[in-house]
Each structure stands twice: as structure tokens, then as C-alpha cells.
């Protein structure tokens, strides 16, 4: 993160925002001038200020997704000057603050661009494809009430830490937006690495890997050709190692894993 500017002078900015009525509309960039934005405001607060101005003029405000505004829900998105979340290390859009911009700067704001994430309106996209990948196998089958005492499963601290680092994914989609192929490898692999670093994830490991990778392909995400823009864009600093783990498992599973034949084992 660059050094914050030491003075508190409010900023005057020129911003270009992607406006698009709905999925069918072609959309385009619209220019706005914004004056007197505090350096302590967050990026989304800057958009709030813009929206207040637009409403004041009787123009429709800009639609953008956001909820927690603390970098954890994964709801906010935005390509800021061509980079997901603005390209600040380990920072989501809602955590970007205006002190990182200069007075007089021009800022371009666009939605995630990916075939699997159609635009809903303006800067809002539909990320349902991510849910589909999780539904294909991103869980451990354990009905409520069937669990043993938690300390009966010992998890080496290093494994728990690795699992946690992968599980930190907030499902924002920056990885997809950053990838020239719009691949969802980092998202899918992070989920798998979370579970496969834990003993609880082992029983369904092969089946899960195949199912989630297939779901990822079916949802229309592209292939990985090793650019690793995803890793650089991830606000939670998930590393490419998870992809290596997934690829190893996938190769193994594709070669050796077969669904057992269905046969009733119900006794009378």
C-alpha cells in the first residue's frame, strides 16, 4: 500500500463510471466531476457522495454491490482503473480509501468482466455461477447431530493454518475478473484446499474434486493458462499453491476414481 498523503486536502476527481440499464443494454462509460472528496472517505463512500449528487440533480444513482464494507462479505467488486478492487495489496474495494488517490486524478470504474458473471445493472454482476460450483461438492457431508466430540479429531496446527488460509476466500470474483481467460481455478481450488488440508475432508476428496472442477467448466469459466493474475488480484492473498493441489488431485481422481455401483444395502 502506498504511503498515505500527509495533508488532509479534499480531492477533486474526474470519474468515468460504467452505466448499463440491464443485462441486454450495451452500456457505456459516463463521465462525472466530483469535488471536495475527503481523503479519509472510503472508495464506496466516494460513490455514495457521487450518488447523493446525482439524486440531487434528479439522475438515477449508480448501482453497485456492497454490504459489510469491511472486506469480508465479498459483495463489493469493481474494476478500478482496470484492476480488480483497484489492485491494492490484500484490499477489497470497500477497504480502499481515497488517500491513495491524487487531487485531479481520473478514475475509471467498471464491473467485473466475465462471461459467467453477466451484468445485472451498472456495476452489479450476477455471480450465481460460484454458488453452483459449491453446490457441486463444496461441502463435507455431515448431517446435524451426527458429530463426535470436536477434540476427537486432532488436526495438526500447520494443517489447520493452511486450511484456514485457503478458507479465507470471500467469493468476490476478483480472481475471475483478473484472469485473461476468466477462469475460476483459484476460487474452486481454494475451497478444495480448505477441506483437503483437514482430516474431515478426506472421505469425499476424489469425488468432490471431480465434481467441482466439472461444475466450474459447466458454468462457463475459462481454462487456466498459468498467468496467475488471480493470485495477484486476490484480496485475501490466496496463493497459486491451492491450484497445484487441485490439479494433482484432479489428475489422480480422473485416472483412478470411479463412483461405486449403486446397489441397495438396505436389509429387511
Amino acid at each position: 500500500m502506498s504511503e498515505p498523503e500527509s495533508n488532509d486536502k479534499p480531492l477533486n476527481l474526474t470519474i468515468y463510471v460504467w452505466r448499463q440499464k440491464d443485462a441486454k443494454d450495451a452500456g457505456g462509460l459516463v463521465k462525472y466531476d466530483l469535488k471536495g472528496v475527503s481523503q479519509h472517505a472510503s472508495f464506496l463512500e466516494m460513490l455514495d457522495i457521487l450518488n447523493e449528487q446525482l439524486v440531487g440533480k434528479g439522475e438515477e444513482p449508480v448501482a453497485f454491490d456492497h454490504d459489510c464494507r469491511e472486506g469480508i462479505c465479498g459483495m463489493c467488486s469493481l474494476m478500478i482503473n482496470g484492476r480488480p478492487h483497484g489492485g491494492f495489496p490484500a484490499t477489497t474495494t470497500c477497504q480502499v480509501h481515497m488517500r491513495h488517490f491524487k487531487d485531479g486524478e481520473t478514475i475509471y470504474i467498471e464491473p467485473w468482466r466475465a462471461g459467467a458473471f453477466p451484468v445485472v445493472r451498472d456495476l452489479v454482476v450476477d455471480r450465481a455461477a460460484f454458488d453452483k460450483i459449491t453446490q457441486a461438492g463444496g461441502y463435507i457431508t455431515a448431517n446435524c447431530g451426527s458429530a463426535q466430540d470436536a477434540n476427537a479429531i486432532l488436526v495438526p496446527k500447520d494443517d489447520a493454518d493452511r486450511a484456514m488460509s485457503a478458507a479465507a476466500c470471500i467469493g468476490c470474483g476478483a480472481c475471475v475478473a483478473a484472469c485473461p481467460n476468466s477462469s475460476a481455478m483459484l476460487y474452486t481450488a481454494a475451497k478444495l484446499a480448505h477441506m483437503h488440508n483437514l482430516p474431515q475432508g478426506q472421505p469425499e476428496r476424489m469425488k468432490r474434486t471431480l465434481a467441482m472442477v466439472d461444475a466450474m467448466d459447466a458454468a462457463g469459466f475459462g481454462n487456466c493458462t498459468n498467468h496467475y493474475e488471480c493470485e495477484a488480484a486476490c484480496p485475501k492473498e490466496i496463493t497459486r499453491e491451492v491450484i497445484a493441489m487441485m490439479n494433482r488431485d484432479y489428475a489422480k481422481a480422473a485416472l483412478s476414481y470411479r463412483e461405486p455401483t449403486a446397489k441397495s444395502d438396505g436389509a429387511g
Binding site: 455514495d48 446435524c144 475432508g201
Partner: protein
């Protein structure tokens, strides 16, 4: 306290010794035949810990579930933001914890304003939650030997909080979301994302459905079910600035209130002591710095007013004997880990005394200097790294070098829809879970107990109590969405939207929300008085009137329209805020987070009035132009002795 209507408050607390109530209740509950469960349709509004866990678990049992959330995915429910941890009476640390101690701490922490039987059940099932979450793959922090790690939280002298770095809520919710996803894939849960509930439908005295708006297409639609579960979270955003997510709202519960559900203790709101202070009028929300930080951080303000300027610019230059570690001074037994309501008031007191640091004098320090000296920066980074990073991103200051500057902020709603022991509201078939109900936390919630309650309600309570209810409802009785009650409710929802869109005034929705928040914070915040509340009760209706004359909502109603979404929520806040203040005015005592300046001990602590107020206040709606009626559920303490709360 009139009681002529057919408004009934039967808490249905099982008889018998406290430790046996839940087992007994479970045994006595009626069951639904496994083969019949699929014939019962259940609506769950909310996909947070409470709603998500309920939806998944009910589907596992075989019910036909429909689940709703306003975000674009169930995984983004506000539970995701919880940082510090979740309590459970596992006693893994062998430090004297037990189910009874967790029960006791929670009743005491809530300033003796919760229902004993519920709290005991909560403590009982807390241990199962950790087991279940672990089985689902929640990556809780571990010791080197592979066992689970714990930390301490406020209001307890044992270490019973389980955590996943500073992202405990996220990890628990992802566990819930995983289970929910499995049921969605299996076709047992139908998930409705970006869909907002705008009304409750009551037919023949039973909750039988809801009216929703599809936030993408604007379509208004009804859904019918044999039972409706609300797990829609808390209403802290009535204060505009809070630690809640931007979309958190009161709409679902408030609409249910207007359909006859009693609202319990709306004035009980929690103000969290350690949040990043307000920095300007563009501010849209406040960010919490987890209570877990008080394990190692020490809270202080300068002793002398004369040192404020120096302390603000260069805190390190203030020597120890010029610092007032006021929590350690005032509450030696619990020190920095005293409960939130107490820590918040103490911070306000220091700032009101002119000893606050930073802009506007609204801040105190949370200092890690001594912990870093003792344990090294690496250890502190491992425990709290993401919180420190978050602080730095927002403030531009490095908390490893300079203490965090913090101030209290609205955080949690202890109040909510009234429920009985079965989590059922006074409307049969309407159940309320998680932060949305009036809860087990009395007048103040202890840290790390909301996640526990949400999961207890969703995983371990509702699967039994809902079955008991449905066993008495014929499967064939599913209402038709063509029935008058549904079409009337739809018409009311549409009418309201039309009304919002046709005011065509000059002011933004946002500006009204801000103004309401200002009234609420000033008149009904950390300190409340008869005078301030009477002021609010005049100012809020006036503001509401101006809203309906001068608000502007642009865009269409049949499209994705965030202004319209927000307008509906703010319109409800404008009514609910009044109810909250009314409840605060009527409760002529101080208890937990509800501090009436007229009722305090000589040293400024909350002073309860057990004679007059040892009860839950439950408000019954009477119509827009009539004052609501206040009912009471008396609280009986048989296991914990009513005493003045002391953390000294």
C-alpha cells in the same frame, strides 16, 4: 399494561429442574412421521447462521424448505462479519468452565433480564455446536498438539471462546453455507437470492406465508408454507451508523409486528466499546475492532486534560503514571475484559470528562505496547494480524507502532420479536431465530454469544420445536397464494412501493436515514433520559412526515433499484425508531445496554429496578394512528440470584 385483546404471552417454559427442562421438553414434543415431512413446506427468511443452519437442518430432516436472502448469495449474510469467536462450555482448558457457569455468566452479563430456561438450553447445546461445526470442516484455531484453541472474551473469567483467526463468523457461516448448498443441490432447499420479504401473511390466526420482491426484476410474489421462520438479523442500522452491514434492516420483523407479532424489548441495543471512531460526515458505517483485542490490548485515556493534545499526537510520549487505564482501575477483577455496556459507558465518561483523544475528543486508546513487549510482534500478528491490517487500511495508521484509537458504536440488537421457549412468536406458525428474536441475552449480550445463539437456534432448537408444531397442522392445509389474505398483502406491498415512488420530493433516502440516526444516537444512545426520549418521540414523527412529503426515489419499480430497496427499509426504521424510544422511555430503570441517567448508582453504574421492571416488555401494534400497547412477561429467577452486577 392493558390486556384485553387476544394477545397471549405464554412462554411455555417446561416444568422441572433447570438442567432437565430441555431434555424433558424434547421428549414430550410431538414428532412428524419421517415419510410425511416432505409434505410440509417451511419458509426460512434469512441465510445467516440462524437461518442457514435452520434451512439446511430442516431439509436434512426431510422438510420442503424455501430460503430467502437479500444478498446475491446466502454466503454473504451479515454473520460473515463476526470476528472474534464463539463461546461453548467445553471446558477444554480445564479452567473451571461448565454448562452452569456459561448459563450463569450469560444471565449476569445480560443484567438479569433474560429468561433462565432459554439461557440454560443455550449453554447446554453450545458444546454440540463446536462438534457440528468441526465436523463440517470449520478450521478453528488449534494448538500444536492438534486440539482446539481458546481465547477469553468479556464478562467471563474462563477461556471458552473458539475462533478462526479474526474471521470466526465467516468460517462458521461458510460451514453453514456448505451444508445449505448440499441441500440446494439435492433439491431439498429452494434458494431465493436477491429476494426481500416485505410482508407476512397470517391466515386463520396462523402464519402461512410471505410476500416478497425480486430485487432484480421488481416482481412482487407470494409464497405459502405451513410455517414461517424469520432469521433476518438485527436492527442496529436504525442508528444509521453502526457496525452492521449496509443492508441490515428491521423490515421483516417490523412487518411481522404490524401483522400482530409482539416486539420484545426494542430498547435493548448494544453499543460496542471498541470501534474505529467516526472520521467525517461522509461516513457510511463504523468498523468494529474485535473484543478479542481486549485480551492483550489495554484501554486508556490521559489522566489530565492538559495532556490531551500531546496524547493525541504522540501517545507513546505519555508516561504510565500519566495514563488512566480506567477499566483496570475501576474493575480490577475483570479489567479490560469487563462487559461491553460497562466498557462503552466508561469510554464515554472519559471523553465527556474532556480526556478523549483525536479529532473531536471522541476517542480512547487500545494499546498493545505492553503485549508486544511481552510476547513479541510476531505473536501479536499471528493472533490479530488481520484486525491490525484492517485498522491500518481504514485509518492509515500502524497499530503496532501507535495504539488504536477507538470509540463505542452501535453493534447488536438484544431486542427483537418476542418468542416463547419453542422460538415461536405469539402468532402460531411464526418462529423467530438468531438476532431477530428478543433473544437470550437480556439487556446486554456477552461477546462471542451471538454466533452461539444463532447456531443453537438453527441447528439444535428449531428442528425439534418446529416438528412439534407441524405435528398438529394437517399437511393438506397448505394455503393457496390466491387466497384473499395473500392478494390483500400483495396489494398493500405494491401500494406502499407506489407511494414511495410517487412522493417525488427533493431529498434523498440516505439523508433521511442519516437524520434519523442522529436523533437516535443523541437521544437514545449510550445515555438516555426522560427529556431526551421525549424529544426523540417528537422529532421522529416529524421526520417521518417530512420523509413522506419530501423523499425522492428515482428509477423504476420493475427493475433492480437500490434506492427503492433502501427507501422501504428507511421507512420502516422511521416507524421502528419511535417504538424503540417509547420502550426506552417506559423502562424507568437502567439495565445492561439501556442506561437511563436518572437511574444510576453513586459511582455511575446501571441501577436496575427489580421491583418494577423484572420483566420483558412486549409491544403490540394497534394501527398507525394509535399508540402500541405494552405487555409484560415477568421474569422469574430460580437458579441465579438476582443481584447487583459487579465486575469489580
Amino acid at each position: 399494561m392493558a390486556n384485553e385483546s387476544d394477545f397471549r404471552l405464554d412462554a411455555r417454559i417446561p416444568t422441572g429442574p433447570i438442567a432437565e427442562k430441555w431434555s424433558k421438553a424434547k421428549f414430550e414434543m410431538k414428532l412428524v412421521n419421517p415419510a410425511n415431512k416432505r409434505k410440509y413446506k417451511v419458509i426460512v427468511v434469512g441465510s445467516g447462521l440462524a437461518g442457514g443452519a435452520a434451512a439446511a437442518t430442516l431439509a436434512e430432516l426431510g422438510y420442503d424448505v424455501a430460503c430467502f436472502c437479500f444478498q446475491d448469495s446466502p454466503r454473504r449474510a451479515h454473520s460473515i462479519a463476526a470476528q472474534g469467536g464463539i463461546n461453548a462450555a467445553k471446558n477444554y482448558q480445564n479452567d473451571g468452565d461448565s454448562v452452569f457457569r456459561l448459563f450463569y455468566d450469560t444471565v449476569k452479563g445480560g443484567d438479569f433480564r433474560a429468561r433462565e430456561a432459554n439461557v440454560h438450553r443455550l449453554a447446554e447445546v453450545s458444546v454440540n455446536i463446536i462438534d457440528q461445526a468441526t465436523a463440517m470442516g470449520v478450521p478453528f484455531a488449534r494448538e500444536y498438539g492438534g486440539t482446539l484453541a481458546n481465547r477469553s472474551f468479556g464478562g467471563a473469567q474462563v477461556s471458552r471462546t473458539f475462533y478462526a483467526r479474526g474471521q470466526t463468523g465467516q468460517q462458521l457461516l461458510l460451514g453453514v453455507y456448505a451444508g445449505l448448498s448440499r441441500q440446494i443441490a439435492a433439491g431439498k432447499v429452494k434458494m431465493f437470492n436477491r429476494t426481500e420479504m416485505l410482508d407476512l401473511v397470517v391466515v386463520d390466526g396462523r402464519a402461512q406465508g410471505i410476500v416478497v420482491r425480486d430485487l432484480v426484476t421488481g416482481k412482487i410474489e407470494s409464497h405459502a408454507a405451513h410455517a414461517v421462520l424469520l432469521a433476518t438479523g438485527g436492527y442496529g442500522n436504525v442508528f444509521f451508523l453502526s457496525t452492521n452491514a449496509m443492508g441490515s434492516n428491521v423490515t421483516a420483523t417490523y412487518r411481522a409486528y404490524k401483522r400482530g407479532a409482539g416486539f420484545g424489548n426494542p430498547c435493548y441495543t448494544q453499543i460496542h466499546p471498541t470501534c474505529i471512531p467516526v472520521s467525517g460526515d461522509y461516513q457510511s458505517k463504523l468498523t468494529l475492532m474485535s473484543e478479542s483485542l481486549r485480551n492483550d490490548g489495554r484501554v486508556w485515556a490521559p489522566k489530565d486534560k492538559a495532556d490531551v493534545a500531546k496524547a493525541s499526537s504522540d501517545p507513546a510520549s505519555i508516561p504510565d503514571d500519566k495514563r488512566d487505564y480506567y477499566l483496570e482501575r475501576k474493575y480490577p477483577a475483570f479489567g479490560n475484559l469487563c462487559p461491553r455496556d460497562i466498557a462503552s459507558r466508561a469510554a464515554k465518561e472519559a471523553c465527556d470528562d474532556g480526556r478523549g483523544v483525536g479529532p473531536g475528543g471522541r476517542g480512547v486508546y487500545l494499546d498493545f505496547r505492553d503485549a508486544i513487549k511481552r510476547d513479541g510482534e510476531a505473536k501479536i500478528r499471528e493472533k490479530y494480524g488481520n484486525l491490525f491490517d484492517m485498522y491500518e487500511r481504514i485509518t492509515g495508521e500502524n497499530p503496532y507502532q501507535k495504539p488504536m484509537r477507538i470509540y463505542p458504536a452501535v453493534h447488536y440488537a438484544m431486542g427483537g420479536l418476542w418468542v416463547d421457549y419453542h422460538l415461536q412468536s405469539n402468532i402460531p406458525g411464526l418462529f423467530v431465530l438468531g438476532e431477530a428474536n428478543f433473544s437470550d441475552h437480556g439487556a446486554n449480550r456477552l461477546g462471542a454469544s451471538a454466533l452461539m445463539q444463532g447456531l443453537a437456534d438453527g441447528y439444535f432448537v428449531i428442528p425439534f420445536t418446529l416438528g412439534n408444531y407441524l405435528a398438529g397442522v394437517p399437511a393438506a392445509s397448505l394455503a393457496s397464494t390466491g387466497a384473499a389474505a395473500f392478494t390483500d398483502a400483495e396489494a398493500a406491498v405494491k401500494g406502499r412501493i407506489n407511494r414511495l415512488m410517487s412522493v417525488n420530493g427533493k431529498r434523498s433516502v440516505e439523508s433521511f436515514h442519516k437524520e434519523l440516526g442522529h436523533i437516535m444516537w443523541e437521544d437514545c444512545g449510550m445515555a438516555r433520559s426522560k427529556e431526551s426520549l421525549e424529544h426523540a418521540l417528537k422529532a421522529i414523527p416529524e421526520l417521518r412526515e417530512r420523509f413522506w412529503k419530501d423523499v425522492t426515489v428515482l428509477g423504476g419499480k420493475d427493475t433492480f433499484n437500490q434506492s427503492l430497496e433502501k427507501a422501504g427499509r428507511v421507512a420502516d426504521f422511521l416507524e421502528f425508531g419511535e417504538l424503540l424510544c417509547r420502550d426506552a422511555l417506559e423502562r424507568e430503570e437502567s439495565a445492561g445496554g439501556h442506561f437511563r441517567v436518572e437511574h444510576q448508582t453513586p459511582d455511575g453504574e446501571a441501577k436496575r429496578d427489580d421491583e418494577k421492571f423484572c420483566h420483558t416488555a412486549v409491544w403490540e401494534y394497534q394501527g398507525d394512528d394509535k399508540a402500541p400497547v405494552r405487555h409484560v412477561e415477568p421474569l422469574v429467577f430460580e437458579n441465579v440470584k438476582l443481584a447487583t452486577r459487579s465486575y469489580k
